[in-house]
């Protein structure tokens, strides 16, 4: 049943965020420490557990995958509620601090990405993930010929 997938996702999120809060308290921080990341790890674990027992049915998959296909629209909604006015009006100090740290971090991505890099023998799992998160429109993405 689809709701089992949605509920599994909800449960993982709740537990993860709770653990993140606990971790925050333990470290004396007024913030959630990695709650979403912990939730992701829980969901990955739950998936392999279900898969190993042959219990990963279509309904559960549908319930979780629906929400990953909604990811991009949700991000668009998130973009539409940013405080862009403040960002634009921030002035030189804001602009310099943000731009310089961004450029340095981009450079680090280029540097770190080089370590232990293997030639991209692209994984089917990774590609499938891209199709789902890209909006579940696998057939449309599998036609590279359209990109002129």
């Amino acid at each position: 049943m689809t709701i089992f997938g949605v509920a599994l996702l909800a449960l993982c999120t709740l537990i993860g965020v709770f653990l993140g809060d606990l971790l925050g308290v333990a470290l004396g921080v007024k913030a959630n420490v990695g709650g979403v990341g912990l939730a992701m790890i829980l969901l990955i674990a739950a998936r392999s557990w279900l898969l190993a027992r042959g219990k990963l049915g279509g309904g559960i998959k549908l319930g979780v995958e629906f929400w990953s296909t909604m990811y991009i629209p949700i991000v668009v909604a998130m973009a539409a509620q940013q405080n862009v006015v403040a960002a634009v009006r921030g002035g030189p100090i804001v602009l310099i601090a943000a731009t310089v740290s961004l450029l340095l971090c981009f450079a680090c991505v280029a540097l770190l990405g080089r370590f232990g890099r293997r030639e991209p023998g692209e994984d089917a799992q990774v590609r499938h993930g891209g199709d789902v998160i890209g909006g579940g429109d696998a057939s449309a993405q599998a036609r590279p010929a359209e990109k002129v």
């Binding site: 996702l9 909800a10 993982c12 999120t13 993860g16 007024k30 913030a31 990695g34 709650g35 979403v36 990341g37 939730a39 992701m40 990955i44 995958e65 929400w67 990953s68 909604m70 990811y71 991009i72 629209p73 991000v75 668009v76 909604a77 998130m78 973009a79 539409a80 509620q81 940013q82 405080n83 862009v84 006015v85 403040a86 960002a87 921030g90 030189p92 100090i93 804001v94 310099i96 601090a97 943000a98 310089v100 740290s101 961004l102 981009f106 680090c108 991505v109 280029a110 770190l112 990405g113 080089r114 994984d123 990774v126 590609r127 499938h128 993930g129 891209g130 998160i133 890209g134 990109k147």
Partner: protein, 254 residues
């Protein structure tokens, strides 16, 4: 008539948000195909459109939440708010290739460390360059360069001035917006095309909204890997900002 339509939008705000965002995605997809011949991702256009609308709405309402400050678009606030955003991010973990993620684990940790230290140093130096001399202000602005949550959390813990807090938040928001828009532009240049570099990217950029938007606009398959590391960023920043970073800055400026 118009009033009745408005009433439906207000009453059914989340449903209305689905329709509005769907329309926005459709427009972006069509624009991507016909205006850029598919070269610019439809989601990248949609995100930039969203930011543009947020700017216009922000000017119009004077609020801080972009489009969501307009009552008819309040549902966008729920749909794109932290709750559903995190829910969808967790869902993307379902598509993670465990072997790939584990292999890049150490790299992610290294990226997290660099991604916290580098922006902080840059932010702190900028603050010094603009004439701030007290350790609290320097630390708060530096922390804002890490993410827009680390900034105010650090500032509140240290008792920073509210003008400095505003500056700190603006720095973080600007960085997030720049990551969303800039990532697809530099992706090829920095080799952001595989799960490994996506994990490094998430740790370095930090800001969950920036990483979420930037990767979505670049290549959806990279999203879960970047998100996995990025979600630890804010927590770590909040941990070291008011403690380690503040003490270091205070030791230096006296």
């Amino acid at each position: 008539m118009l009033h009745m339509i408005e009433h439906v939008f207000v009453e059914q705000n989340l449903v209305a948000a689905f329709a509005v965002v769907g329309a926005l995605m459709l427009v972006s997809k069509v624009a991507s195909r016909w205006l850029t011949a598919g070269r610019v991702h439809g989601s990248a256009i949609a995100i930039v459109l969203g930011l543009g609308l947020a700017y216009v709405a922000g000017l119009y309402t004077g609020g801080q939440k972009g489009v969501a400050d307009l009552p008819v678009f309040a549902g966008i606030g729920l749909m794109g708010g932290a709750m559903l955003r995190d829910f969808a991010i967790v869902a993307t973990a379902f598509e993670v290739d465990v072997v790939e993620a584990r292999r890049a684990g150490l790299l992610g940790v290294l990226a997290l460390a660099l991604g916290t230290v580098i922006p902080f140093i840059v932010g702190a130096l900028t603050a010094v360059a603009f004439g701030y001399t007290d350790a609290v202000s320097i630390t708060t602005i530096g922390a804002g360069a890490v993410t827009y949550i680390v900034g105010p959390v650090t500032g509140a813990a240290l008792g920073a001035d509210s003008a400095v807090m505003a500056l700190s938040i603006a720095t973080g928001v600007t960085k997030a917006v720049m990551v969303m828009v800039g990532t697809p532009l530099v992706a090829k240049l920095i080799g952001l095309d595989n799960p490994r570099s996506a994990m490094a990217f998430g740790g370095l950029m930090g800001t969950v909204s920036g990483v979420a938007g930037g990767l979505a606009a670049t290549d959806p398959k990279l999203v879960p890997y970047g998100a996995l590391t990025a979600t630890f960023h804010t927590g770590i920043g909040c941990l070291v900002g008011p403690s380690l970073f503040y003490l270091t800055v205070r030791a230096i400026v006296g």
